[in-house]
């Protein structure tokens, strides 16, 4: 059962351990993916989330299992925290049939119906209307739960951002919008692409209560998400969080990263969300140095197993090429 009344974050040892473990899983998983990419085991576009882990972990830890998530092409972290098995996510990166989308989607299109994880969407802002619709469905049948939609700050320049916020506010829908503002839409800096660089201010114009939060601080993110998601569940309409964050890596593996200063990256790395949280938890005596080692060892094991699983998995047979373009006739009532 959800504790509806409680908006506060309770940093028990168990909770802190889990926050750190989840952030570490994302970080190490993606570092491994970058390595596998250079070995050409993973192909296509690969957008790494390294530096932004606090957002997926902070937000998703406030959601219940039946609350839908809509994410973008930088969604490995969201998928992993959501509970998709790392084996399936890794197999998807390889394009294997055991992948979460049978290998048909790859890095940018991770889906899981049983986790109510609706992508994995490589169209900027394309997921916002979908989240609005999922929330509309819940509202129409009277289910009290939030739908959570992640997107980058680049999406705020798209018409769909504005159309979707208008709809969500107009219809008072239970959507939590989470803008992961990493300051660059591919290679274009916020100030070069947005007339008003405060995305949360723009959301507020639609009458949506919105909040900017330090996206490098997992506790801050969780606290904001907790307040927002509870309000959404209580039927108070949509909420908007702008998480100020940064990606330490380039936009994708093809990106030579020529558009920003190395010094800027180094400055942000001093605020590494994993390091910050771990240091704080250790100094506060919530976690112990042994906990960190235990987490790292557990994650390393999980990743090794996932890589072995993906390596050993089968390719989808070519005979299945056009399978699932439309539903098989037997499912038609």
């Amino acid at each position: 059962m959800r504790n509806i009344a409680d908006d506060r974050v309770h940093l028990t040892r168990e909770h802190a351990f889990e926050l750190l473990r989840q952030m570490t899983r994302i970080r190490r998983f993606e570092e491994k993916c970058a390595e596998l990419y250079t070995q050409e085991k993973i192909r296509g576009f690969l957008h790494l989330y390294i530096g932004e882990e606090a957002n997926a972990v902070g937000v998703i830890s406030t959601l219940s299992e039946d609350e839908a998530i809509v994410a973008t092409y930088r969604e490995h972290g969201h998928a992993l925290v959501r509970g998709l098995p790392m084996n399936e996510v890794m197999a998807e990166m390889f394009g294997k049939a055991a992948g979460s989308s049978r290998g048909r989607g790859g890095s940018m299109h991770i889906f899981s119906a049983r986790h109510r994880f609706f992508g994995g969407n490589a169209i900027v802002a394309g997921g916002l209307p979908l989240a609005v619709g999922l929330a509309l469905a819940d509202k129409m049948v009277g289910i009290e739960r939030a739908t959570c939609c992640f997107f980058g700050e680049g999406a705020a320049a798209e018409g769909e951002f504005h159309e979707s916020l208008n709809l969500a506010a107009l219809w008072h829908l239970p959507v939590l919008f989470v803008c992961e503002n990493n300051l660059y839409a591919m290679g274009t800096a916020l100030a070069r692409s947005q007339s008003n660089p405060s995305i949360s201010e723009r959301a507020a114009v639609y009458g949506i209560e919105s909040e900017a939060v330090d996206g490098m601080n997992v506790v801050d993110v969780e606290a904001a998400a907790r307040r927002a998601v509870h309000a959404v569940r209580r039927g108070e309409g949509p909420r908007f969080i702008e998480a100020m964050t940064y990606r330490f890596r380039a936009h994708s593996m093809f990106d030579p990263d020529l558009y920003r200063e190395k010094a800027e990256i180094e400055e942000w790395k001093k605020r590494d969300p994993i390091m910050l949280f771990a240091d704080w938890a250790l100094s506060a005596g919530i976690l112990h140095q042994d906990d960190r080692q235990e987490i790292e060892a557990g994650v390393a094991q999980e990743i090794d197993a996932a890589v072995a699983f993906a390596e050993a998995a089968d390719w989808e047979p070519v005979e299945d090429l056009v399978k699932d373009v439309i539903s098989p006739p037997e499912t038609v009532p």
């Binding site: 619709g133 469905a137 129409m140 769909e160 159309e163 709809l167």
Partner: protein
């Protein structure tokens, strides 16, 4: 069996009413569908019966409300989304092509998107270029969706429910000039029609005329003209633009040995081009004449009546194409 007379518009409205009544997951969403009654008056009166939640006025945001329809379908609803005209559907094309049509395949078969998207299409009402185009062929190009084009009152009445029960996205094109057409329909019984098969609207032995939507009536008018000259045309109404019913088309061409395709859309890259190719691929040796096409002129549809008429296939131009195929 007793029958009653109704218009195409009334048939659409009755189909909407039936669907809303039969399944509480069904709702209608679109611009002006509630207070205004629908741009083509298809939903007039329905809000009083079903309320504002289920007959839902949407803002002028095609991409968002079509996308929201897709999301609602993913969330377990059975939305019918109305787009005022196919011309405006271009603003929602991203959601239709990149989300609705791809989600099933891209997710490895995990998600179905049971949405129905209705839109008015076609020229003939002097609305000029931005309200008159026929882009059915573009939709027919996309795997992952089913595209229906009801040409008759019975199809307008009978296609919606099976479309809603189809687990995949279905796009229904309603030609704007058909809404006032009238026909006799049975008073009772299941009105549903097969949304997989083309229909033979007229039997004939000399030439096959293949058309859809508003062009079916023009093809039938042409066939009447030709009958008095001793030429008997078979008229095939495609009804389903994707997937195309090759079987019916090819069987007819094998019988008549001549094919004339009528398509209001521009000839270049049209659905007519696709059908012509299929006939050539599958029935080339059965042909006694080259496959002929009667298409819209390659021009944005003009406003003045005489130019608009000249831009569109007409019974006379269809008849001329048939005569040419007959070497008459």
């Amino acid at each position: 069996m007793t029958t009653r007379r109704m218009t195409y518009r009334e048939a659409v409205r009755e189909a909407l009413r039936e669907s809303l009544t039969r399944d509480k997951r069904v709702f209608l969403m679109g611009e002006d569908v509630n207070r205004y009654g629908g741009a083509y008056a298809c939903s007039l009166g329905l809000p009083a019966e079903f309320g504002d939640e289920r007959i839902r006025d949407a803002p002028l945001s095609e991409s968002a409300f079509v996308g929201a329809g897709i999301g609602a379908a993913l969330g377990g609803m059975r939305p019918i989304v109305e787009i005022m005209t196919i011309n405006f559907s271009l603003l929602a094309l991203d959601q239709i092509v990149n989300s609705a049509a791809t989600l099933r395949h891209m997710s490895g078969g995990q998600f179905s998107v049971p949405i129905v998207i209705r839109m008015a299409t076609g020229a003939g009402r002097q609305l000029a270029a931005q309200h008159s185009h026929s882009l059915e062929g573009w939709y027919g190009h996309i795997p992952g969706i089913r595209v229906l084009a009801p040409a008759t009152v019975a199809d307008a009445r009978g296609m919606l429910w099976p479309a809603l029960m189809n687990p995949d996205p279905v796009v229904i094109m309603e030609h704007a000039t058909l809404y006032n057409e009238e026909d006799e329909l049975p008073t009772e019984g299941d009105m549903s029609v097969d949304i997989g098969k083309a229909a033979k609207r007229r039997e004939g032995a000399d030439a096959t005329v293949i058309a859809h939507s508003a062009c079916v009536k023009k093809a039938l008018d042409a066939a009447d003209m030709l009958a008095s000259e001793g030429i008997n045309c078979e008229v095939i109404d495609l009804r389903i633009l994707r997937p195309l019913d090759d079987e019916t088309i090819i069987a007819s061409v094998r019988k008549t040995h001549r094919a004339i395709i009528v398509d209001e859309a521009w000839r270049s890259g049209s659905l007519a081009a696709e059908i012509s190719s299929r006939i050539t691929e599958q029935a080339f040796y059965d042909l006694d004449a080259p496959v002929a096409r009667v298409c819209g002129a390659e021009v944005p549809i003009p406003y003045p009546r005489h130019l608009e008429l000249a831009a569109l296939p007409q019974p006379q131009s269809i008849a001329a194409a048939v005569r040419k195929a007959m070497r008459r």
